[in-house]
């Protein structure tokens, strides 16, 4: 076949994984896809287990299912009973469900526990070519390994528990090529915020992203996870990156990664996964990152983002009535002036954490900025590692002392203030810079206002107590 010319046998990474997992495809019906790995947490699983009990069904493959506690779990005082009665009951229900159905659970005191999208990769469970689902929209994170991974609803959790399969309509493919070299102080968080700002928060609905290009290849695995994590914020259920040497080096030796002969065999299969020359995508887009600035959001969805040194859009200049209304509504909620810069806006809270940016490399970046400095008076800094493993690693490197000495709080792992279910939340009116993924109204607590940014931008802003370009501090 001629390179660069479409060939009917040329397949994308997505096509290959889809076809390798297709169990049944009947006419006029969705595909039955086999699921390699099913991850569970306390919030979206209890009704699914109740459904199994009602119907007298068992979990088909407990050995391909793992549960963790992250969403409503506390990040402090783990030795005391969980204060929130509802959260306590929900966590206990997960324990009962996992016990009854024979599922490995990372409970509150398990040394491997953490946010579901941090622990899967960390344990080596997330592997190239797999299909992975979880009742959580940020399951797209695992796509960084070249796995087809997406969030599902609770009815679908029940279906996968019962059959290890999922009914799916084939999505379209959307290739995003990031070219160029990322400038200093700019991260993969800024790349994904720039993409979402470019195509809008519903811009990739019905599609699966494949991220490619020199700027993606240059990223480490944790930065790739950040990129794939926020695919859903552009409406794409999944975002994939072709596995390469970086992927294999990350995986080698992890507890659940294949070992010895099995590793060699797996490696051969994984090396066949990248999209073929000439493979065709439904949509394509190329972005050059060479001049990318740190990105920051101003509104109430992740698509409302701008480079940190630009001014907030003015609704008066927006033609479309629907978009104008929604921009006005967003700015009113955010109490942010149109046409003005966001730089130097005073902030109340800095949250460094979440499945987007809570891994060791994220914490190292934040610590690099905070080392030897103090958080501005009156500003609260909360640092929540993505897993207990990340926490131990950070403590071994002394990063926790950097955060504590700067005046921040250092916690146990969990989703924490990203979803504000466990008591870690903003007070009404407070403005936060958050390394998480969603700036929806009230997401971090009723009346709370969220600005999304990278760990570097968050840390720099903590020191000044105002929105700060991290490039002025590194």
């Amino acid at each position: 076949m001629t390179p660069g010319v479409a060939n009917e046998r040329s397949q994308t990474l997505f096509d290959k994984i889809w076809e390798q997992h297709l169990v049944v495809q009947e006419p006029d019906s969705p595909a039955v896809l086999f699921i390699d790995l099913h991850l569970l947490h306390e919030v979206t699983s209890p009704q699914a287990f109740a459904g199994l009990r009602e119907k007298g069904l068992r979990v088909r493959r407990p050995g391909r299912t793992m549960a963790t506690m992250d969403h409503s779990s506390p990040t402090k005082n783990l030795d005391f009973p969980v204060e929130d009665e509802q959260a306590h009951h929900q966590l206990r229900q997960l324990q009962i469900n996992c016990m009854e159905f024979g599922i490995r659970l990372l409970d509150l005191h398990d040394p491997d526990r953490g946010i579901v999208h941090v622990v899967g990769p960390e344990m080596g469970l997330t592997q190239p070519g797999m299909t992975i689902v979880c009742g959580d929209s940020h399951t797209s994170t695992h796509g960084a390994f070249g796995a087809l991974a997406f969030g599902i609803g609770t009815s679908e959790v029940e279906q996968v528990l019962a059959t290890q399969c999922l009914l799916q309509t084939r999505p379209r493919t959307f290739r995003v090529v990031f070219e160029g070299h990322l400038p200093k102080g700019v991260t993969s968080k800024d790349m994904i915020l720039a993409l979402i700002a470019h195509i809008g928060t519903g811009g990739a609905t019905g599609h699966v992203f494949e991220y490619a290009g020199s700027a993606v290849q240059a990223l480490g695995m944790e930065a790739r996870m950040t990129l794939c994590n926020m695919s859903i914020e552009a409406g794409a259920r999944a975002g994939l990156i072709a596995p390469d040497v970086t992927t294999f080096e990350y995986l080698a030796g992890r507890p659940f990664a294949p070992q010895e002969n099995a590793w060699d065999e797996a490696l051969k299969e994984w090396q066949n996964l990248p999209s073929d020359e000439g493979a065709v995508y439904d949509r394509s887009l190329t972005l050059d990152v060479s001049n990318l600035d740190p990105m920051i959001t101003y509104g109430t969805n992740p698509g409302m983002g701008i480079p940190i040194n630009e001014t907030v859009p003015d609704p008066a200049l927006v033609q479309d009535a629907g978009h104008r209304d929604s921009l006005e509504k967003a700015l009113k909620y955010m109490q942010i002036q149109p046409g003005r810069p966001l730089l130097d806006l005073p902030v109340n809270v800095i949250f460094i954490g979440s499945c987007t940016n809570s891994r060791i490399s994220d914490l190292r970046q934040a610590a690099e900025v905070l080392r030897g400095r103090k958080v501005a008076l009156g500003v609260k800094l909360l640092v929540v590692p993505g897993s207990e493993e990340v926490r131990r690693q950070a403590e071994a490197e002394g990063l926790h002392n950097v955060f504590i000495d700067a005046g921040g709080e250092w916690r146990y792992s969990g989703c924490s203030m990203c979803i504000a279910m466990n008591g870690d939340q903003l007070q009404p009116g407070e403005l936060a810079i958050s390394t998480s993924n969603r700036n929806f109204e009230g997401r971090q607590g009723p009346g709370g206002r969220t600005i999304l940014a990278s760990p570097l931008t968050a840390a720099a802003s903590a020191i000044n107590g105002r929105i700060t370009d991290p490039r002025t501090m590194i």
């Binding site: 049944v24 929130d84 929806f440 009723p446």
Partner: protein, 201 residues
């Protein structure tokens, strides 16, 4: 799940684009282990003012919309989190169908599994429906699933898409899990031929 055939109702307009599932049902309501009582939290942040009193302007609080079964929403409705609590809360409140110009994928899937019908209409029809309901909040439309038809006051008919599988499930109230379970032998065979019998954990 409750079968869906035809409904005739007036429409509750919440026409903003990108209404996310955190607005439909805030995370604080996700600490339940069942599906009941979620209507209490439906659009909580918009239904209630900061002092906890209902906002009389918000459509769900307006007397004329109390018994409406159709939500008229904006583009990309249900974006964000995968929480199925969103359709559970809408259904708990009495909503049976959502009309919009586009839906987020996971919300769309979750709705169909709960007998909540997403009705996709072109932008011009959407605009006309909004005008209708602004003009007279009691304007009623009929949704006929079998014919995939939306009928506006005055008899104008608009067809809407739905795939054959979900249409069957919705009309008959069938849980799609049964379809998956009926393929038990194929799943077993797949596991054998694709070396999927081994466990990961």
């Amino acid at each position: 799940m409750q079968p869906f055939t035809n409904i005739t109702s007036h429409m509750i307009p919440i026409p903003y684009p990108n209404v996310d599932t955190d607005q439909i049902i805030p995370a604080v309501y996700l600490k339940v282990t069942g599906k009941d009582g979620l209507a209490e939290g439906l659009f909580f942040g918009w239904r209630y003012k900061a002092d906890g009193t209902p906002d009389p302007e918000f459509p769900l609080n307006r007397p004329e919309f109390q018994d409406a079964q159709i939500l008229l929403s904006g583009d990309n409705f249900g974006c964000g989190s995968s929480r199925e609590h969103a359709p559970w809360a809408l259904e708990g409140w009495g909503i049976r169908a959502v009309i919009s110009t586009s839906f987020a994928d996971i919300f769309h899937n979750n709705s169909l599994k709960n007998g909540l019908l997403p009705v996709l209409v072109p932008p011009d029809v959407h605009r006309d429906l909004l005008i209708l309901t602004e003009d007279d909040p009691q304007s009623r439309v009929t949704i006929e699933l079998e014919a995939q038809r939306l009928i506006l006051p005055g008899g104008r008919e608009v067809t809407f898409p739905i795939d054959a599988f979900n249409k069957y499930c919705m009309l008959s109230g069938t849980d799609a899990l049964g379809y998956l379970l009926s393929h038990k032998n194929q799943i077993e065979a797949f596991e054998t031929t694709h070396s999927k019998h081994e466990n990961l954990l």
